[in-house]
Amino acid sequence: MKTAIVGAGKGCRSLLEFILEGGLSELRLDVALVCDREERAPGLVFARERGIPTCSELSEVMDLPGLEMVVELTGNERVAEDIYHRVPPGVRVMDHVMARLFWDLLHAERQLRREREQVQEILDSMPDIVFVLDREMRIQAVNAEFVRMSGLSREEALGLRCHDALCGTEESLEQAGITCPLNEVLRTGKRMSLVQVTRGRDGEEEHYEVTISPLRNDGGEIDRLVESRHPVNERVRLKREVEESNWRFRRLIDSARDFISMKDREGRYLVMNAATAELFDMWAYECVGKTVHELYPPEIAELISKHDREAMEQKRHITYEETLVLKGREYHLKTERFPLLDYKGDVVGVCTISRDVTEEKRLQQELIQADKLAAVGKLAAGVAHEINNPLTGILAYAEDLLEDVEEDDPRSEDYRVIVRETLRCREIVRNLLDFARQTTPRKQTVDLNEVAESVLALVSKLALFKDIRIRRELSGDLPHVSGDPQQLQQVVLNLMVNAAEMMRGEGEIRIGTRFDPEDRTCRLSVADTGPGVPEEARGRLFEPFFSTKATHGLGLAVSWGIVERHGGRIEVENPAEGGARFQVVLPAMEVDG
């Protein structure tokens, strides 16, 4: 529409700017001329700058060929009057009052459009899926992320029922008997958040954190719902990974027979495995948070704390050999300690892995003992063989001399001593050979109670036992063992004699038998009320010819050899109530059925 503007004030300039920016494009205004008497009016200046023709006389406006509309912006009633009078027929006139009105309307509409666009822009800028539903769960608005995720265009989505667009089901959740959270919000009127699992288009599980907020109309009634969905797949995956790795860690440490734990710098348990907790008859979780001092007897706790500190201070791996007595059992542990570091590399605690090497140690000692015995046996046989002929000579010459001297000759006593002591040598050598001779036991089914009884019958005749009280503590329910009854009697007799000698013939001997179901062994014990076995003598007690003040000779070594050949062992201890206790431990025979 070919248009001329009359009056080139500030309003004119704004209008021109607006039109040139593309405003009012619907009206297709083509400003062909701008007229004002004042040559320096802002509208005229602007028009000239933009190459729009200008004039100073109204007549020029009226003469413009093809003019379709005149816009009067002078604000002067007379000029407006004049224009109405002079416009050619068919040319429209918009005076400054109308123009003002039109301008205001234009402005308001533009504002509104801007605002709507901004809301959509905000929605579209959100990374979450956002959409708005009416009370019938029809989609009223969606954002760009919705379009991207659903594969529906904005136009396709609008008006769809929510479950058609999102749940991918024919029926709504309510129809399927499941409470739909949207209805829940409608009922309660409160915003709610939840995590929903859906199958994506590719069939993969997708996790969303869904938030549904109610929107209310002026009357305060809920007329719409806004749902936003935030993908939390990564978070769920992370959470699962953490749970999984936690589970693996627990499986690992709880399946281990070693004692595994972690403590903080104050000695408080952070982690403990099941094997360790069992030491205290507790569950691992009950022990976490407790300190070593709360769980162990003071002296052990002190030792553990000391070692823990060393590993933390020295910041390195240290191996310890530790001996703990817990609930009357002695544990020999090989413990690895190393500092627990955080992500920055700072020491925040200590980790320990302890292996129970009690049995290993015992076997090792038995092996050493067996080796020693075998070596001594060989040596003894060799020495005995070499020494026999010289002794034969000594005896022959000494007895010869003895025969030649008169009975009252002072030398005869000396010769007798030579003979006596040579015979003593002979006895020692023979004992040694008895010991060295590794007689294999002739095994049969043996009742250890019978062995004990037969030995008790024997010792009751011996002078050594006349001032000794004997107490029987024989188990009425003892499995048999496989063994040589005569050799076993010899063992028990040796232990009884040893006990009597340790007590110097006065005191009490308790002889007992019992079955230990744990390692399926039969145990025959001989306990005395003597001074006990000195600590330093423990390891050497079973060596041939090792003697303490009260005992001597080969008895214990022979016993040890016999029991060893029966697949058993002899245990020695000084019980709390005093004295010494020797225990013959033999494997029980399996009972049929």
Binding site: N389, T392, A396, E399, L433, A436, R442
Partner: protein, 258 residues
């Protein structure tokens, strides 16, 4: 008076030869000593001997082989083995193979004199038996296991094993004053001292245990009347009973090699 019995002593160690010579010097024997079995055989071939005392373990030909050579000759010479305590099982084998007896080193004067004196008696070496029959062929009841001319073992019902003297051993003991029997429940090792016999002539003689076991009974009749062991060695004169540890193994260990 007949000539002094000739004793041939064989040992690879001079001190043992000298010792034996000293022990026996007043016993009225004619003693020759040699350092090897080969020399001994030469002397036996050339001159013969009434008793041979030989070491069991010697370099070259050992005592068992010498014994075998002597047995091969068919001469009934009592052969007394000298053995260390450690090799008593071998000594028992020697008895089984025909040795007369053994002494274990180091031995006392009376131990050696006792056994040699028995060897010098008529009947030793199986030379003369009752009624002139060779004793070693008189074996008593069939169920007996014989330990050469030394003793016998009989399995009894109930698992015990009875031990008694062989006639050769019994007849060379001479008149007995007493027996030193072990106590019931004592454990005897095969080849160790089982019973000591105290003879009227003041000598003592040793019966070696033929098997290992625990003494379950002793024959009180023999204790009271020691001569019973000599007069009825396979019957009333049995000595003791043992509960054997492993009778079969003990007897197998004594069996002569095939």
């Amino acid at each position: 008076m007949k000539d002094a019995p000739r004793v041939l002593v064989v040992d690879d160690e001079q001190v043992v030869l000298d010792s034996i010579r000293k022990h026996l010097r007043r016993e009225g024997y004619e003693i020759r000593t040699v350092l090897s079995a080969a020399e001994a055989l030469e002397i036996l071939d050339a001159e013969g001997a009434d008793i041979v005392i030989t070491d069991l373990m010697m370099p070259g030909m050992d005592g068992l082989e010498l014994l075998a050579r002597i047995m091969e000759k068919g001469e009934r010479i009592p052969v007394i083995m000298i053995t260390g305590y450690a090799t008593m099982r071998t000594a028992l084998q020697a008895l089984r193979r025909g040795a007369f007896d053994y002494v274990s080193t180091p031995f006392t004067r009376s131990e050696l004199q006792g056994v040699v004196a028995r060897g010098a008696r008529p009947g030793a070496g199986g030379g003369v038996g009752v009624g002139g029959a060779p004793t070693r062929d008189v074996a008593g009841p069939e169920s007996l296991h014989h330990l050469g001319g030394h003793c016998w073992v009989q399995e009894m019902p109930g698992g015990a094993a009875r031990v008694g003297l062989e006639r050769e051993f019994a007849f060379t003991l001479g008149d007995l004053d007493a027996l030193e029997l072990p106590a019931v429940d004592d454990v005897l090792e095969q080849g160790s001292v089982c019973v000591r016999f105290l003879a009227r002539d003041g000598r003592s003689h040793t019966l070696w245990s033929p098997i290992t076991g625990r003494v379950s009974a002793v024959n009180e009749k023999v204790r009271e009347r020691p001569s019973l062991a000599v007069s009825d060695p396979y019957g009333e004169g049995w000595i003791l009973e043992l509960v054997p540890r492993d009778l079969a193994a003990d007897l197998a260990g004594l069996a002569p090699e095939a």
